[in-house]
Amino acid sequence: MSIPHVLLALLAEGPKYGLQLREEFEAGTGEVWPLNVGQVYKTLGRLERDGLAESDGTGQDGPQKRFRITPRGEEALAAWLRTPPDLTSPPRDELVMKVLVAARVPGTDAHEVIQAHRMYLVELMQQWTRLKEGEARDDLGLALVVDAELFRLDAVTRWLDAADTRLKRAAAEPSRPARVPAPVPQLRRLGARR
């Protein structure tokens, strides 16, 4: 998650003070992710060191120092916005692990395990939906964040449904003869992200 670039984006609107940046960040993201003010100043220091931002040079660190974006900073921001994050390697996902394991542990009903997780996810989505209809109706930043979370959780429930079906079909199929393993595809050699 790139705080430096988000701060650059706020500076692109005009020169700002450190505390102001923190307030605007939190207000713009529906206050879902509180930002530590020390982290803001540390990041601003790095941006200044890298020539992406500059201060009005009162010589003192602190709340009186105003920062502005530099032309190099504007280029870096534009490049960051247009560069897709690297999504090639699947992250280690605890829920995926649980389902894979549940399918193998003797005496465990994998479908019951899936149902328990499905119910938890839907309950969470109910809470997010209430937030969407409450505070988020008048707060664009919060609405975008809530939508992102709802779509993310929804994707997980869809995977659980697909996993449920696959496991049911696999259990119903007669056992297949062992296959000669195919060469490991390149994708798997990239390894999982932590």
Binding site: L35, M125, D154
Partner: protein, 240 residues
Amino acid sequence: MSVLQLRGVSKTYGQEPATVHALAGVDLSVQAGEMVAVMGPSGSGKSTLLTIAGSLEEPTSGEVLVCGMALAGMPQGRKARLRRRVIGYVFQDFNLLPGLTAAENAALPLELDGVAVPKARAAGLAALEALGVADRAGRFPDQLSGGERQRVAIARAVVGDRRLLLADEPSGALDSVNADEVMRLLHEACQRGVAAVVVTHDAQLAAWADRVVFLRDGRVSGQTTRPPGPESLLTPGEFR
């Protein structure tokens, strides 16, 4: 009082050895102002549950009560009146009559119930207005967008102060923005006191409900409890 009650409802089709157990011992109770979503895979019995709740089909065993009235043994004429006055249906494919305007479609259940045409049309227009499509009153279904057609279908389902709404994949054919809007409209109807049962495979839509019931192989396999307030989601934490 519950608006809808299912007690030990079972439904089987066919005969041994090819019997299909569509529902097995289902209990469900829905209060006024409550939205209950029913989720489950294909073949879990969701649509059968809805047709039985809506008196369109009879259970093999068990009881169904609508506003405290048992459907078993109810004369067909009374059942038909119940369907016109008390129960509203919303289907995935809208089911609007192509030869009638939006206003005429919305007013249809009341006219069929013998309400005088001017009064029925006024109620239909009021329902369209509540759903934000009064300006489409004079259009025919093929002149409306998918989202508009579904709003007219919901208007028709709530016209005349129905008590119970039964919806089967009500947002099925719509994009996510319109689908959300449909659920918001159903939710608003519940806030006005209507009881609703919404069948859906979509967790984002089910999440609008007060309670989500899961069906599997014709049985209730679980249900979510009424969630706490959304403030519990926003606990203080560091942004890394």
